[in-house]
Symmetry: D2
């Protein structure tokens, strides 16, 4: 059983009618419903809850955290940011969606500005699978067509991804590295681009398939914890006396 | 001084008027002229010359080989293919252009089918720089727009590139990893997509800039040659007797 | 159920008493027994069988092929080599063990010489896990100590691995990239260094754990097959007429 | 001309006689002298200078910053840390030496703990070149032997390096990824392991050769600055109306 916590800042859906119309119960609820058949144990958490819903108890019992945020990144406390980043470094999986590229935890884990180009005119996006043997592409077609989405364009200021799974083509002419994996410490991170708040992207079966695959991939591997610090030698040391 | 050999199969330009109109002296000659101000020592070689113009003397005195081929891949002999691949493994740089993706030397060095999608309707291609600190992107704008090109689309069946420098957006909706680097042995390989034979792509200053950067990047680093085979220990061996 | 075929050239064990003493029924049989509790459907195949035991029927019903060869690499036919490489490109997993680094299928898939340094004096090898969140490291300690092994040393002439999982330290002073992953087409390849024929390495529980993890990781992901060739546009083409 | 600033915390050399004996004028001065024939314009800066010697004027006129720190990492201000990290993201090269793995700027740019194993008994270290075509390996032998060094051992908690150039073998049995490159934004980072303060490592000609190569490699490529934010389309948008 994979324990999944879906975090959503849950602000747009309360104050913008256009967004409320698409996600009346919030993006987190739509995602929880969309992933309900995957066999995950799912909880949700939002910005306005105490500690943003990410208490130590919640974080310590989460295998994979899904993150959606946009207009309120700066309202996430530095303390929770640090706890999330540290839990990832200690093994918790992290699936960062869309505008989460600018979230504090993602930026702390990347070490870059995570900036990009954007345009909001509802153009067509086509995601192409460029890594067909990757588990995140399991059961996914060669391309996913989204009739209307926000554009994100390169240069996307991230470290070179460990693995590139999807690249998007936008109608206006841009490209974007839309499905990227990163390892940090014992934790795995999957960034997945689609999901502007005014489009029904998170009801799309193929998009949900990719997110579910991402959760399965990011689920921690149970290795023994790395040991750091002062270490005894395994083999006798002659202090550099050569043969 | 970098010694560059430009290899072109030089068949289209002799038999297709449409191509001859664009490259009357052959693609190799257009490239040699386009790169003439770069300070390289440039030779050309073509399929119909003895040993395809790639004698041992030529290969051994070439720092970087540029390769363009398309309709006559199977007329390149296995012997020359093997010599080219081996010279790359021993340090010679290789810049593979456009339809050279299906050339015998490139396939031998990749270990994959190198297959892809394609369409020839003269649509617009936009190449985006996704690696701004890479020397192959030196002096290149964020994007290069080609009004008319052949489309190449993903999935492009290559190994994961060591570095990805350009991604193309095509008008019909596809994307392509258009600028890719690979290391094989002591040699460096740069694959660069543009250059269909019916368009004046190799007269484009930005495209020539990228090819010249690719030559400079692929130029061999003069390290001592790796030593292989049976080796004496550097340190005394106690045959696994532990501390 | 993962269908595993263990291929062994099975020559040393017939003609060298020292090897026969360690692997009386052959390395393939020892591996089959060692992996018998993993829930795999296991077959074996050897060099002297018709088509080296790798008929189309066998290859087409194999999810993951394990390969051990050493003194008889050149007796593997080019035809079978090509079939194995092609099946990997089409999705079959491949786990290459020890001296299989010089096997024809591995070299064809790498595009390099796959050469290395070596020494056979029975020194201590310590493998270190450098990728703790990788599924191939699942349940493996920070290090694996082998009291006696053949030394393989860098430079190991392979392409930059997609992922590096283990690095070995040898008593005589060398290092080696001992656990490496590569993707080729739809297929996944895991190279794992240990296993000289005169040592009981393939009875070691930790080594068997890594090989089993490698099989699970290399098991094909069932994506739809990539489509190549001439493609219709998804979006209307204005032939480069700009905004 | 490459403008190099060598930063050293310069604390050990003032208070520990053992260190003072090796580097009487400080590690920064030894490095500046060792690199004096490379054609760089070299300045030094130390912790106790105002703004740690890293004023905006200094940072803005530095092409490549070399960093050595150890016992006083926490005395580096958060403000200077952020300025250094930001300058790297904007193109400045960074060469991080030895115990600089735990420096604030390096950790901020990596997004990991950067922790490791260590032992200080003066054992032998052998660095092996695993990337012979890399410019950082230019003119360097297959291995560099240091008679006495501090041990650093895996797991080294860094992101997967973009390129791995050196791996160390330590006499006591450990391995370490000793030469690693990373790109962050427009900037390039080279981490190089050797250089404990009690050994004369920075007088070793081969070690100085690698550091000089690292500076040349990390020197910024002058591309046009990436543009971020709201962008006009290049191509007309039909809002997803398909062909």
């Amino acid at each position: 059983m994979i324990y999944v916590t879906i975090w959503n800042e849950f602000v747009h859906e309360k104050i913008h009618d256009e967004v409320k119309a698409v996600y009346p119960e919030g993006i987190h609820t739509a995602l929880a419903e969309g992933l309900s058949g995957e066999g995950f144990a799912i909880r949700t958490a939002t910005l306005d809850e105490p500690e943003h819903g990410l208490t130590e108890e919640v974080l310590n019992s989460t295998d994979v955290l899904i993150w959606w945020g946009h207009m309120a990144h700066d309202r996430v406390s530095d303390e929770i940011t640090q706890k999330v980043a540290q839990r990832v470094q200690q093994g918790m999986g992290l699936v960062v969606l869309h505008s989460g590229h600018f979230s504090k935890p993602f930026k702390a884990l990347m070490g870059t500005s995570c900036d990009l180009k954007w345009r909001e005119v509802g153009e067509q996006e086509i995601l192409w699978n460029v890594n067909p043997s990757h588990p995140i592409a399991h059961g996914v077609n060669a391309s996913i067509i989204l009739a209307h989405e926000e554009m994100y364009g390169e240069f996307f200021d991230i470290p070179e991804p460990d693995e590139l799974v999807f690249i998007s083509n936008f109608e206006g002419g841009e490209v974007f590295r839309s499905g990227c994996t990163f390892r940090r410490g014992e934790g795995k991170i999957f960034y997945f681009r689609p999901g502007h708040e005014t489009y029904p992207t998170y009801y799309n079966k193929e998009i949900l398939r990719v997110i579910a695959n991402g959760v399965n991939w990011a689920n921690p591997v149970h290795t023994l914890k790395p040991v750091f610090g002062n270490s005894e030698p395994i083999r006798a040391i002659n202090k550099g006396i050569l043969v």
